[in-house]
């Protein structure tokens, strides 16, 4: 018993430490960029905001929205990855690998380019719809096997669905070349230039999904122990699966509607969290949220610092980090427990 308390104490300390790191990253996100600002500038800005001062305006209008968006979408993507890995029972099963990003982007592109609507409040629903369609498609394809879902099948199904949606998107863009510029940032994935209004359109969905997921941690623990055990313990498997699916779709689709195709966050974060706290979902959820935010903040800061004055798309940075990680996990053969 005392052992358990000690362990939990360590995990709490770890979480507090991560939150401190997160705060430092948030500050850095305000400070560093093409132009660096001192802490004093940020303090002045928050205490005595002056609408004439260009420094204040840049921090408030440019850096601050970026920071907030990175924190929220990072947390959501990390959580979406955790849920999808649990749902597919596969260490590689993150939204981008499963083609959910591509499905979402395809629907957004159809909506913006073909139907010419730019109201983000409506686009969000299309992002959800695309994510849902891709997720259901992949899940059905992954489970047609007589031997149940095998880990490779579902990934291959994801790759196929991904390729399909990507080429459909390309065909639409080629046929409507003038719409290209309106949707290019969604395809490259970036936080640069996104405004807080865009975040507010999805914020209620993301926050409620994050909170619900945290409350579900206990049920997720039971579900993770295997379907037959969960059934034996009285869990309604179908309801659980559906809930997880909806949560994943909302978290992934909602983030994509704001920052576009940022891949591999959902792959890396759950593995990192699991290596820190093991398989207890009560801890995994909170760690995934904090780690996801930190990861996306750091990635976003590095997009500005690597090749100034030009910016590298955020999606490129996450793919650079994520692809080798994917190879590593694939090589390990998915022996890590999910």
């Amino acid at each position: 018993m005392s052992q358990l308390v000690k362990q939990n104490r360590r995990k709490i300390f770890g979480l507090i430490l991560l939150v401190i790191i997160l705060l430092i990253c948030m500050l850095s996100s305000l400070m560093f960029g093409i132009k660096h600002y001192a802490l004093a500038d940020i303090y002045n800005m928050s205490m005595f905001f002056n609408a004439q001062d260009i420094t204040h305006i840049i921090i408030w209008k440019e850096r601050f929205p970026r920071m907030v968006i990175a924190v929220v979408t990072g947390a959501s993507l990390g959580m979406a990855g955790m849920i999808s890995q649990l749902l597919t029972r596969n260490p590689l099963g993150s939204p981008s690998v499963l083609g959910i990003n591509a499905g979402s982007i395809f629907f957004i592109v159809v909506f913006v380019v073909v139907l010419n609507v730019t109201d983000l409040n409506v686009i969000v629903y299309f992002a959800f719809l695309g994510a849902l369609l891709a997720a259901v498609l992949v899940y059905l394809l992954g489970t047609v096997s007589n031997s149940g879902t095998t880990s490779v099948r579902i990934i291959l199904a994801g790759i196929a669905v991904n390729a399909m949606f990507v080429s459909f998107t390309q065909i639409i863009l080629l046929m409507n070349q003038k719409g290209m510029n309106d949707v290019l940032f969604w395809m490259a994935g970036t936080i640069s230039g996104r405004t807080l209004d865009m975040l507010f359109a999805v914020l209620p969905f993301l926050l409620s999904a994050l909170i619900v997921t945290c409350f579900l941690a206990g049920s997720m623990n039971i579900y993770a122990s295997g379907e037959s055990i969960a059934k034996g313990l009285g869990q309604n498997i179908m309801v659980m699966k559906l809930t997880l699916l909806v949560l994943m779709v909302v978290l992934a689709g909602g983030s994509l509607a704001v920052i576009g195709n940022v891949a591999f966050v959902g792959l890396i974060i759950p593995h990192l969290a699991r290596s820190l706290v093991g398989n207890n979902y009560a801890w995994l959820t909170s760690y995934s949220i904090v780690l996801g935010s930190i990861f996306l903040l750091v990635a976003d800061i590095s997009t500005r610092l690597i090749n100034p004055p030009s910016e590298i798309p955020l999606g490129v940075i996450t793919a650079f980090l994520g692809a080798p990680f994917f190879i590593y996990v694939a090589f390990k053969g998915g022996r890590a427990r999910v």
Binding site: L156, I159, S167, G315, V316, A319, A323
Partner: protein, 347 residues
């Protein structure tokens, strides 16, 4: 009476049999290829009559549409043919070596590796060395990718499926690298790269056509020369070794063939997806028994598919010229899904 032919050399140095039906089917494939090529040459924005095509090809008489046929359509159709054949044969080889029906050079990242090699060259070296060296670097990119995959495959516990997954990761990495180069390089070279990357046969010239024609023919000859090894390997590692096949050397040799074929086609047409995955499945339905016939039908069907896809991409959305790669992926991805459903019990 008999359904097969037996072929023997004079002193029985070699002998083999051919199943008549498969020979006829192979010939049918080649005839369809000829028809598709004719279609591609004759029908476009305007129609060039058959006798003009013949006159031009065999240099019998001067024709009216010399520019449209000789400078635009002919190089495009011919290189489409070679690109399709190379990708298809490369796919057949990769599927055979990994022994996985879902593997192909573009799925396991070799196409992306080749693209990366070419993009690196075009961006950083082409201005000093000249653009004509692009194929060398595309081939280098393909070879490096294959080498990495080969290193992974040396691990004793690794399965064919894991190799496919590792290749998918390599593809993602190479694509991210390409995106990075596109974003950071100056707009002049990134425009050039972008034009080339879309997987298009638009604007292929005679020099490129001739060079891939020559290299493909010599590679295909070498593959046919050693096709018996390929057949032995298909019996499984243990049997093949018993029958005297050096597994390691075989794998390296054939992966090299595949990398060369891939690099060549990528250097001309960019990344045309799914031909390498799709074609071997069709050709294995047509030819079951004889590997050299299998190689020929695979090359033929690959050529048919790319020429046909390029023709549709050229015609269907006129005046837009859709890159053929977009088109093949649009058809190829649903086919991949079909394969997944069909092979639902095998993995």
């Amino acid at each position: 009476m008999s359904n097969r032919w037996i072929v023997r050399s004079k002193y029985e140095k070699f002998s083999f049999f051919l199943i008549k039906k498969e020979v006829y089917k192979t010939i049918a494939v080649l005839i369809s290829l000829l028809l598709v090529v004719l279609l591609g040459l004759m029908v476009g924005f305007d129609i060039i009559p058959f006798h003009e095509v013949i006159n031009y090809t065999f240099n019998l008489a001067p024709i009216d549409n010399e520019f449209a046929l000789g400078e635009l359509r002919m190089p495009r159709v011919l290189s489409g043919m070679i690109v399709g054949a190379s990708l298809a044969v490369a796919g057949l080889i990769v599927q055979g070596i990994v022994r996985n029906p879902l593997a192909s050079p573009d799925v396991i990242g070799v196409t992306s590796g080749a693209s990366l090699g070419a993009v690196l060259f075009i961006t950083y070296l082409s201005s000093s060395m000249g653009i004509q060296w692009t194929p060398i670097f595309a081939v280098l990119g393909a070879i490096v990718t294959f080498f990495i995959i080969y290193l992974f495959s040396l691990h004793p516990l690794i399965t064919g499926n894991q190799i496919v997954l590792i290749g998918i990761g390599l593809a993602a990495f190479a694509n991210a690298f390409i995106m990075y180069i596109l974003v950071t390089s100056d707009s002049f070279s990134s425009e050039r790269v972008f034009l080339w990357m879309t997987g298009s046969l638009y604007g292929v010239n005679w020099l490129q056509t001739i060079s891939i024609l020559v290299s493909f023919s010599s590679l295909f000859f070498m593959i046919m020369w050693s096709q018996r090894k390929f057949e032995l390997y298909s019996y499984g590692d243990a049997v093949a070794e018993q029958l005297g096949l050096n597994l390691k050397r075989f794998r390296i040799l054939f992966l090299l063939f595949s990398a060369l074929l891939c690099g060549l086609s990528v250097s001309v047409a960019g990344g045309i997806g799914f031909i390498g995955l799709l074609t071997p499945h069709i050709s294995r339905k047509i030819v079951r028994h004889h590997t050299s016939l299998l190689f020929i039908t695979t090359a033929g069907i690959g050529a048919i598919l790319v020429v046909l896809a390029d023709w549709i991409a050229r015609i269907a959305f006129h005046p837009l010229d859709i890159p053929v790669g977009v088109f093949t992926s649009g058809i190829g991805a649903p086919f991949f899904i079909y394969l997944l459903i069909k092979n639902r019990n095998s993995f």
